[in-house]
C-alpha cells in the first residue's frame, strides 16, 4: 500500500466525519481544540506503539503478518458495515477538563478495534513511518474539521460523509483481506 492509499485507509478507519459528530464541543459549535489535539496525539501514540511493536506482538500471538492482514481486513469490513448502519456515534458522557481527550476522544471515538488492527497490519507490512504518515494525516484532517463550527456544517452532510467513509472502510477491508490471502 502506498502512503497515499494509507492516508485514505486511515481517513476511513478513523472516520473523521463520524468522529466529528461525536466530539465534545465548546461554545460556538467548535470542537475543544486542546482536548481534540490531545486525544488525537494519544490515538497517534497508540497507533505508533502498535505499529512499532507489531513484529514482536504477532510473533507472541503466532500470527504471520500476511494472515493478520486478513484479520485487519475483516475488522475493517465489520466496522465499515457498522458505520453504514449507524453513521452517528453514540453520545458518550464527557468528563470535566482534560480527561475528555482520553474519553471519549481517544477511546472510543478514535482508537477503535479497526484502527488498532489496521495499525498492526500496516506497521508490519508498510512500516512505522508510512503508518504514522497515514494516521497523522487523517488526524490532522480531523483537527481541521474540528475547528469548523458545527452549525454551518449541516449534520446531514457529516452523516453522509460518515457513510461514505464507512463504505470506503469496507472496501479497504476487502482489499486488505484479499491482499492477505494472495500474499505468501
Amino acid at each position: 500500500m502506498t502512503v497515499a492509499l494509507l492516508v485514505i485507509a486511515y481517513l476511513a478507519a478513523l472516520n473523521v466525519a463520524r468522529t466529528r459528530l461525536g466530539l465534545p464541543e465548546a461554545e460556538g459549535g467548535r470542537a475543544r481544540p486542546l482536548v481534540l489535539a490531545g486525544g488525537s496525539l494519544l490515538a497517534l501514540g497508540l497507533v505508533a506503539a502498535l505499529a512499532g511493536w507489531s513484529g514482536p506482538l504477532l510473533r507472541v500471538l503466532q500470527i504471520t503478518p500476511e494472515t493478520f492482514r486478513i484479520a485487519a481486513g475483516v475488522a475493517a469490513m465489520l466496522a465499515g458495515a457498522y458505520v453504514l448502519v449507524t453513521p452517528r456515534p453514540a453520545a458518550e458522557p464527557v468528563p470535566a477538563g482534560g480527561w475528555a481527550m482520553l474519553w471519549p476522544i481517544c477511546v472510543p471515538l478514535l482508537a477503535g478495534p479497526e484502527v488498532m488492527a489496521l495499525a498492526v497490519a500496516t506497521g508490519s507490512g508498510e512500516g512505522v513511518p508510512a503508518t504514522l504518515a497515514g494516521g497523522g494525516s487523517a488526524l490532522a484532517a480531523l483537527f481541521l474539521l474540528g475547528l469548523v463550527p458545527r452549525r454551518p456544517v449541516a449534520d446531514r452532510v457529516l452523516l453522509w460523509a460518515s457513510r461514505c467513509l464507512g463504505l470506503l472502510l469496507l472496501l479497504v477491508g476487502v482489499w486488505l483481506a484479499i491482499d492477505g490471502i494472495r500474499d505468501v
Binding site: 503466532q62 500470527i63 494472515t67 486478513i70 484479520a71 475483516v74 478495534p113 494472495r182 505468501v184
Partner: protein, 391 residues
C-alpha cells in the same frame, strides 16, 4: 461513565476473543531438525516400499481403524509414487531404492503401447491417460538423475511424443487417448495438463537442444491464462505441477506472464500452508478450522512452494518471495514431521507396517498422501539445513 467504559472494554475483549478463535488462531509451526526431517523421509519411503508387491503394484490405501486395504487402483497415482521414490533415490544416492522401485516402473513399461512415433502406457481398466504418462516420464527423468543410466532415453522420448500428440495449438492438452477409436479424447484432466508441462520441462533438462522446453511453454501459458476459466473453476487452482514446470525451465523462460503466474502460485501455496498451520483438529478450533487437511493436499502445497523457492532463488524478479517462501516450507516440514505416524502409534494397530511412516486423514491413508508429503519434505531439507547452520 464508568459503566460505559466497562461496556466498551467488555465488547472489545469479547471481540478480540472471537477474532482470536475464529479469524486468526495461532499458526503453529513446530521447529524440526534436519535429522528429524530425514528420518520422516526415510519412514515415508519405507512405507511406500513395504507396500510394493512383486507384481509392481503399491498398496493403494489403508483404513487403519477398519483394518482394510483398499482394492482401488489408479495409474496416475502409481506413476506419481514411482516418481517420488526415484526422487528419494536421487536425493540420497540409494541404489537399493532404485532396484526396488524398478518393479513399480516395470508395471508401467510392461503396458506400453505404440501408435505412430509415440509410446504410452495404459493402466489396467483405464484409458491411456495424459497424467499417468507425464508422471511415467517424470519418473524416468528422476531415475536418470539418480543413476545416470541412459537405458530408458528412447522410452522417455517416445512418451514425450505422446504428450506432444495430445497438445493443442493453444497449449491445452487432451487428457485421454482412446485405444478403441485411436483418437485423443478432448477432455482435460484436472492435474494432467500441469503434469505434462512439467514432464516436457524435465525432458528439456535431460535432452537439451531437442526443443522439449519450447514445447512446454504454450501449455504453461495456457495454465497461467486460460485453464482455470476453461475448466470452470471458481478460484484459481494451486497447481504444484505447474510450479515444478516453472522451476525446471528456470528464469531463462520466465516472461512477464510466467513470472506473474509464479507469484500467484506462491500466494496460493502460502495461504494454504498458513491456514493449515492454524488447524488443531480439536476443541473450538475444530469448529472453525475443521480437521487437519489431507496429507496429499498439504504435501502438494509443500511441493509447490518448494518449487517456487527454487525459482525465486535464481530469479531476481521473485527474490522478494524467498524469506516468506522459506518460512512456509519450514512450517510445512515441522507440521508434517509432527503428524507422521510413529512406530509407537503404529504398534496399537493390527498392521503396524501399514501405519508407521504414513500420514492419515481421518484414519485413512492413500498412496498419494505419502507420495506428496515425501516429495515436499525432500525439497524442504535444504531450508532446514540452512536454518540449522544459521542457528
Amino acid at each position: 461513565m464508568a459503566r460505559r467504559v466497562a461496556v466498551h472494554l467488555l465488547i472489545l475483549g469479547l471481540g478480540l476473543g472471537v477474532f482470536r478463535i475464529a479469524v486468526v488462531p495461532a499458526e503453529v509451526c513446530p521447529v524440526v531438525t534436519t535429522a528429524q526431517v530425514n528420518e520422516a523421509i526415510d519412514e515415508a519411503a519405507a512405507w511406500l516400499l513395504r507396500g510394493l508387491g512383486e507384481d509392481g503394484r503399491y498398496v493403494y490405501g489403508y483404513d487403519r481403524d477398519a483394518d482394510q486395504v483398499s482394492r482401488d487402483y489408479n495409474g496416475t497415482r502409481h506413476a506419481g509414487v514411482t516418481m517420488a521414490l526415484y526422487q528419494y533415490a536421487a536425493a540420497g544416492g540409494r541404489p537399493e531404492v532404485v532396484a526396488a522401485t524398478d518393479r513399480g516402473l516395470a508395471f508401467m513399461l510392461d503396458r506400453l503401447l505404440s501408435e505412430g512415433d509415440w509410446q504410452a502406457w495404459q493402466s489396467p481398466g483405464e484409458e491411456v491417460q495424459l497424467g499417468s504418462n507425464a508422471l511415467l516420464l517424470a519418473a524416468l527423468a528422476m531415475r536418470r538423475q539418480a543413476t545416470g543410466d541412459p537405458g530408458y532415453d528412447d522410452v522417455m522420448r517416445g512418451v514425450g511424443r505422446f504428450l506432444l500428440a495430445q497438445q493443442q495449438p493453444d497449449g491445452r492438452m487432451h487428457g485421454y487417448w482412446n485405444p478403441a477409436t485411436r483418437q485423443a479424447v478432448p477432455v482435460q484432466g484436472k492435474f494432467a495438463t500441469g503434469e505434462a508441462a512439467w514432464a516436457l520441462a524435465l525432458l528439456a533438462d535431460a535432452f537439451p537442444g531437442e526443443g522439449w522446453g519450447e514445447a512446454s511453454l504454450p501449455t504453461l501459458d495456457y495454465l497461467a491464462l486460460q485453464r482455470d476459466r476453461d475448466m470452470g473453476f471458481l478460484t484459481r487452482m494451486p497447481d504444484h505441477w505447474a510450479a515444478y514446470a516453472l522451476a525446471e525451465l528456470g528464469p531463462g523462460h520466465l516472461d512477464e506472464v510466467r513470472s506473474g503466474y509464479s507469484r500467484r502460485l506462491a500466494g496460493y501455496f502460502g495461504v494454504r500452508l498458513r491456514f493449515e498451520a492454524q488447524r488443531r483438529g480439536s476443541g473450538l478450533n475444530l469448529l472453525v478450522r475443521w480437521v487437519p487437511g489431507t496429507p496429499a493436499g498439504v504435501g502438494t502445497a509443500g511441493e509447490g512452494i518448494a518449487a517456487i523457492r527454487r525459482l525465486a532463488q535464481e530469479d531476481e524478479r521473485l527474490a522478494d518471495l524467498v524469506p516468506n517462501v522459506e518460512d512456509r516450507l519450514a512450517c510445512f516440514a515441522g507440521m508434517m514431521v509432527e503428524r507422521q505416524s510413529t512406530a509407537g502409534e503404529a504398534a496399537a494397530y493390527p498392521r503396524p507396517g501399514l501405519v508407521q511412516g504414513a500420514w492419515f486423514y481421518r484414519g485413512y491413508v492413500q498412496m498419494d498422501d505419502v507420495q506428496h508429503v515425501l516429495s515436499g519434505l525432500l525439497a524442504a531439507v535444504p531450508v532446514i539445513e540452512a536454518r540449522e547452520v544459521a542457528g
